[in-house]
Structure formats: C-alpha cells, structure tokens
C-alpha cells in the first residue's frame, strides 16, 4: 500500500467512527461542540501516532504473550504526556470540559485496535502514517458531529454566532442529541455505500454482523 493510501485509509475508507465503529464513548460524550471535538481529536491523534510509532519500533522485542500489557503501558504513557501538556498549555475551559475523557483515551479501542491490527505487523513509517490518518479521521468525524450539534443547539460554530437570535434546540447538546445525530450520520454513510454498490451494478449485501442471520431479536420476540 502506498504511503498516501495508508494515510487516507483512516480518514475515509476505514474511518474509525463511521465505518469501524470504534471509540463510540468519547465520540458521544465530547462532540457537544466543535471546539471540544477538535481538542479531543487532536489529543487522540497525538496518542495514536505516538503509540503506533513506538509499538512498531519495538514489535520485534515484545513477546507475544505479554503484548497487550506492553501496548497498554506504551499507550498510557502517551496519554499521560498529553494530559500533562494540556494541563500546562491548553485553555482551562477546554481542560474542564474534556476532563475525564483525556485519561480515558487509554481505553479507547481505536488506539489499542490500531496497535494490534496495524502497528504490530508493519514498518515504523507506515505505522506512524496509519496513526496520523486514523487520528485525523477520528477528529474529522468528531468535528462533523460537534459542528452539527453545536450549530443546531446554539446557532454557533466554534462559539461564534453564525445566525444571530437562533431559537436554540438544547436537546442536541445533551447525550440524547449525540445519539440522534450519530444515527443520522451512520444512516447517511450506509446509504452512500448502498448507492455506490448499485451504481457499479453489484447487489448490496448487509454485513454479516448486521444481517438477520446473526441477530435474533425477532426470534426472541416471536418465541414469547
């Protein structure tokens, strides 16, 4: 795979939020405004790029049996570094809103997922690019959600009023709003995939994990 493809892979084709569906917890929690989303996205990008680089660098010396603890130590180190840097230089308001979600990047499944699925098998440069790409994809997804939520809730973007005297739908700032907006984005993303398939003349098949074969909710209901 070319370097550019590795980088762009995370941004669209395997976007962590819209396609891989990883890291949903911070996605829902911090996408309440574009500014929070940007802060969280950049912090995660730094951790992803750093941990991918170090994991790839030391992949030959990490024994397979203890690889997960080793990855977690590496990731936790980068997260603590980010936390310290943000405490020192980020605006205090951003620090308070992101609060607990910065330390929680340690258990964000994208970071461990990329270490395990990509960095442990690929070269240093490719792993670094993959980390940056995945991080940017995550930031982009978060910013899209954050911008939509902030705009509908307050009529502002990055805390600047775009439409003065916007009525304000504050539901969108609450977790409920996060679920609603995320669902609409996922629906749009799936629709575009279905349309692409139809255009190229292929039949769209629902992915295994979403199809009727592996879901037995209706079976449970009819059995009752």
């Amino acid at each position: 795979m070319s370097s550019f493809k590795t980088l762009s892979n995370g941004i669209w084709r395997e976007n962590p939020v819209f396609i891989l569906m990883l890291g949903m917890c911070p996605t829902l929690a911090v996408s309440s405004s574009a500014k929070n989303a940007l802060g969280m996205g950049l912090a995660t990008t730094f951790v992803l790029a750093g941990s991918n680089l170090v994991v790839s660098l030391s992949r030959k010396w990490i024994p397979a049996k203890v690889r997960i603890p080793c990855y977690i130590v590496i990731i936790a180190t980068f997260v603590t570094i980010v936390e310290q840097l943000m405490k020192a230089w980020a605006p205090p308001e951003l620090n308070h809103t992101l609060g607990i979600f910065i330390p929680l990047i340690v258990v964000n499944c994208i970071v461990l997922g990329r270490a395990e699925a990509f960095a442990s098998k690929n070269g240093i440069f490719a792993s670094f690019l993959d980390g940056v790409g995945m991080g940017l994809g995550f930031s982009l997804a978060l910013m899209m959600l954050g911008a939509v939520r902030e705009f509908i809730a307050d009529g502002t973007l990055f805390e600047l009023a775009v439409i003065p005297s916007w009525p304000g739908i504050h539901l969108l700032k609450t977790p409920t709003g996060a679920f609603i907006v995320l669902a609409l984005f996922l629906a749009a993303s799936n629709q575009s995939k279905i349309r692409k398939c139809r255009k190229s003349g292929m039949k769209y098949e629902t992915p295994e994990e979403l199809s009727c074969r592996s879901c037995n909710i209706c079976k449970l209901i009819t059995e009752k």
């Binding site: 309440s32 030391s58 049996k65 570094i81 230089w89 973007l157 600047l160 003065p164 504050h170 700032k173």
Partner: protein
C-alpha cells in the same frame, strides 16, 4: 520458568522506560502547569474584584470556603473574594466565586465551576455573551467580560450575614425550570455568608 522470567523482564523494561519518560515530562510541565492554574484563578478573581486590585493572596480555607485577599498597588487591603461550594447542583458540584467589600457587601458573583444542563441550568450559572461571526468580520469591539445575569446579579449589593432566601425582604431571584440549580447557587452563597461570619467573629476574638 525461563519463559516467565523473560516475560517479566520485558514488561518490566517497558514500564521502566515509560516511567523515566513520564518523570521527564512531569519535570518540564510542572512549572507551566502551576502557572496556568494560577492564571486561571486570577483571571476569574479579576472579574469579581475592584478594578484597582494589583495583587491577590490566598488565605487559608475554612469550612469548605476559600477566601482571597485583594490588595491595591500600595499593599492596602481593598476587598475580599470567597469561593463557596454546593454539592447539590443538577450535575453535582457547583462553585460560586463572590467578590466582597471589606464590610461584607457582595460586589459581584459568578459561578466558577459547574456541570449543569446546557440551556436550563446554565441560565442561572452562565455569564456569557456569544460574539457573532459577522461582528468579528466587521471589526466590532470586544464583548463585556462580565455580562449581566439577572439571577446572579440579584446577589450583588447585598450584605453578608444571616442567610439568603428566595422570598422575604432580602430576596434573591431564581429561574423557574431551573430550581435545583438556583438553590445550589443559593446554598453556595449561604456557605460563604456563614464562613464570613465565623471568620469575622474569630478575628474579633483574636483582637480582644
């Protein structure tokens, strides 16, 4: 056996390296962290204290209320500030920062930390005006750093001592629909009032 030793050593090696890295980062950021915290505090204090304030000093906390002294350029005591906490906000902890004259008159009140519901509780807690994109493009002036908030402003110019409530002669305002947040702000101000009385009675005792 040999295998276990190898696993332990390699994991230990990673922990040691990460420990060294973190110690290094901690050393670099310790000073900026402290300065950022201090800057954040003085920025907020500036809003509730008189404009002539040149220096603020932290006093010892008592009963969960933190007092600050504001000194002017010559080192004369100008005013006090106090930060009180209530744990009964809709989203948990809520902190109120109040500027106080030396006689205990409230100069200004702001909510320094909260996690209230956006759009409901924040009607009580936020002193916030949003700048419009078009205003910035047109090069309009800066916003008032201390915008009005009817509920918080109803505390201003009242004198500490006794307890405040939503009715009676010394009444403060609340926002309907945000009763819990309004009450939490009230509780925090009352805790400041109590601590102020206690502080004053203890200084009088010392003087005697």
């Amino acid at each position: 056996m040999k295998d276990i030793l190898k696993l332990c050593l390699s994991l230990g090696f990673f922990c040691a390296v990460s420990g060294i890295a973190l110690a290094f980062v901690n050393q670099i950021t310790a000073e900026p962290c402290r300065r950022a915290e201090e800057a954040e505090r003085t920025d907020k204090l500036k809003l509730v204290l008189p404009a002539e304030t040149a220096e603020t000093q932290v006093e010892e906390a008592g009963d969960g209320v933190q007092f600050f002294r504001a000194l002017d350029a010559e080192g004369k005591l100008l005013a006090y500030a106090a930060e009180g906490t209530s744990n009964n906000g809709f989203g948990g902890e809520l902190r109120v920062l109040a500027g106080l004259s030396t006689e205990g008159r409230i100069l200004g009140v702001l909510v320094s930390r909260h996690s209230e519901t956006p759009g409901i509780g924040t009607q009580v807690t936020d002193r916030k005006l949003t700048r419009s994109l078009w205003e910035i493009l047109a090069g309009k002036a800066e916003l008032d750093p201390f915008p009005p908030n009817a509920c918080l402003d109803s505390y201003a110019d009242k004198t500490l001592g006794g307890t405040f409530s939503f009715d009676g002669a010394n009444a403060v305002l609340s926002v309907s629909g945000a009763t819990i947040t309004s009450k939490a702000v009230l509780t925090a101000v009352n805790s400041i009032s109590q601590a102020w009385q206690k502080k004053n009675s203890s200084t009088v005792m010392e003087e005697k």
